[in-house]
């Protein structure tokens, strides 16, 4: 049973295809592991306690296999971040505002994975409305890191990352606005991919910052990420920013991508000040592995990169303040119990329904969009956003991949940064620039610091270079075993 839980999606898929296991057995094993560990980790907000939904889906998947109508994900148990709308489970966004919300429809990603035959085991915990980098701002309490339960798993997709790391499910979905897939993958010692903006439909993804939000997969190996992407990505006319492109096979370069001749840009500021020594060492060693395999390190400069955090924390709150205006206690979600009139109802509903970080971002967004400050903050941030995009564009004329850390630190202790938004925001320094530019970013484990906490390596590529990033990372994962380590505090 333990080897089953420790298997990758690709291995499980092969075992299902060979009829060595059934999806019902596999799903039951995952549900038991979830039931055993979730009290401790708080990775899930909603689980399938009755086991009816998941086991019915698993039975259907086994029938599909028997009919010869199965794909690689048919019968594979997964979990969805609780920001993706599902009819089967409530969709809370980690917020009191949506504590009881049951969506009348499925998100595009949810539907596509269902069509592929994946079995949903539950909905994972997250920072409230995906606003955070630690999964502590959830109304349902903080998620704990399987490598050190006193520490955060990263965020905002921290529940998905912890669930995969703790071997509760072999894969999960996440969403990334400024690093919310990549950073929790790094802090939890697993793999995560933020696709090119527009690649995965946002239909049914509760909006935080619409010009940045992208859904993507989290799993133990990059080969698994490719399998999930093959189901998740693709044009959807219900998302006005979905890109009309042909379906692509994200696995196509897994066995053919060459490291020889790959031009790697590793900007100095990615390996300089403010980075924990253990993080720098692991990332430098990974860089050395790539150059030893024949990759060339080329000099690239991204002069506006240090402004990424400042730009992001204008643009994302601005979009959030607009998107979250829909939560008014009229059409869905929480409504205050007592109020004197309509305005009072709105104000109390929102004061009760939102937590501190969400309120801060709404207020900040309202400020930067308000009369007299719009030009100085919002428009200026949008201009600097273009400068950052241009930096990347000129960098990608000289290199194929930009390599660096995902985050400047490993997992930090629960509670220490929760009241210090500025410190928390600065931790996003390496992930927000790629988000602002809409670029794909891959996070893979590349070692451990002196305390045994995982370090994540980030590979950023130009638009639509996911298959290349996955291929290069797959070479690395064939030669290393960082991604196969089982978290010390959740042994099998």
């Amino acid at each position: 049973m333990s080897s089953l839980l420790n298997s990758t999606v690709a291995e499980l898929s092969a075992a299902l295809a060979a009829r060595k296991i059934s999806s019902v057995e596999l799903t039951r094993a995952c549900l038991e592991r979830i039931a055993r560990l979730n009290g401790d980790l708080n990775a899930f907000i909603s689980t399938d306690e009755e086991r009816e939904t998941s086991l019915t889906a698993a039975r259907r998947a086994d029938e599909r296999r028997a009919r010869g109508d199965a794909g690689p994900l048919t019968g594979i148990p997964i979990a969805h971040k609780d920001i993706l709308c599902t009819r089967e489970f409530r969709t809370t966004c980690g917020s009191r505002m949506l504590e009881k919300y049951r969506s009348p429809y499925d998100a595009h990603v949810v539907r596509e994975l269902e069509r592929a035959g994946a079995v949903v085991t539950g909905k994972t915990n997250m920072d409230e409305f995906a606003m955070g980098s630690s999964s502590e701002s959830s109304h349902f309490g903080p998620v704990r890191n399987p490598w050190a339960k006193g520490r955060v798993p990263g965020g905002s997709s921290g529940g998905s990352a912890a669930a995969v790391a703790a071997r509760m499910v072999p894969a999960a979905t996440g969403t990334d606005t400024g690093g919310s897939i990549r950073q929790p993958a790094a802090l939890s010692g697993i793999c995560g991919l933020k696709p090119t903006y527009g690649t995965v439909s946002r239909y049914g993804l509760v909006a935080f910052a619409s010009s940045l939000d992208q859904a993507g997969p989290l799993a133990k190996s990059v080969a698994d990420l490719a399998l999930l992407m093959n189901a998740m990505a693709g044009f959807d006319e219900r998302d006005s920013t979905s890109l009309e492109r042909e379906k692509e096979d994200y696995s196509r370069l897994l066995n053919s991508q060459k490291i020889q001749g790959l031009r790697i840009g590793a900007p100095d500021q990615y390996l300089g000040e403010g980075i924990q020594p253990g993080v720098r060492k692991a990332v430098e060693e990974a860089l050395r592995w790539f150059t030893e395999q024949g990759a060339t390190r080329v000099n690239v400069e991204l002069p506006h990169l240090p402004l990424g955090v400042a730009v992001y924390y204008v643009i994302a709150p601005a979009e959030a303040s607009s998107n979250l205006s829909r939560f008014d206690g009229v059409r869905y979600g929480h409504r205050a119990g007592e109020y004197s009139d309509l305005i009072d109802m709105y104000e109390r509903t929102r004061a009760e329904g939102f937590g501190a970080e969400v309120k801060r971002r709404i207020l900040m967004g309202t400020y930067v969009l308000s009369h007299g400050y719009y030009d100085a903050y919002y428009l200026q941030a949008q201009r600097v956003r273009r400068l950052i995009v241009r930096d990347f564009q000129s960098a990608f004329e000289r290199c194929d991949v930009i390599l660096g850390p995902v985050a400047p630190t490993t997992a930090f202790e629960i509670g220490v940064q929760v009241d210090d938004p500025v410190t928390m925001y600065l931790g996003d320094v390496f992930t927000v620039p790629g988000s602002l530019a809409g670029l794909p970013g891959l996070s893979i484990p590349c070692g451990f610091d002196g305390s045994g906490l995982p370090v994540g390596l980030q590979l950023t590529g130009t638009y639509f270079s996911e298959a290349k990033l996955l291929g290069a990372a797959h070479r690395y994962q064939e030669a290393t075993d960082w991604h196969l380590r089982v978290p010390t505090e959740t042994p099998l």
Binding site: T241, V311, G329, M345, R350, I362, V368, R385, V389
Partner: protein
């Protein structure tokens, strides 16, 4: 640039967020620290740079103005806090 208590109260009103009496100062001090951080962008020379409102410079797709969704009013209203005869209920706004 620093926000006064009055400005915080005004923003809260614009954002339709009720702040508790004691909350204003605390919210203000955190917002002011965030403003200090994001204020860095004001020193950047952006003369002649077009604002970028989107991650990619692509034109938004248009579709014919046709009804594509089925009527699912009941399903959508089933999650509303207060509904009567197909209408969302709110406190009386006209005397």
């Amino acid at each position: 640039m620093s926000l006064s208590d009055d400005q915080i109260r005004r923003l809260a009103r614009l954002a339709r967020l009720a702040l508790q009496p004691g909350e204003t100062a605390e919210v203000g001090s955190r917002l002011n620290r965030i403003l200090e951080l994001v204020g860095q962008i004001q020193a950047v020379n952006t003369a002649g740079i077009e604002p970028m409102s989107h991650a990619l410079d692509v034109v938004q797709r248009l579709r014919p103005d046709e009804v594509t969704e089925a009527d699912r009013r009941e399903a959508y209203q089933s999650v509303a806090p207060a509904v009567e005869e197909g209408l969302f209920l709110v406190p009386k706004v006209i005397e």
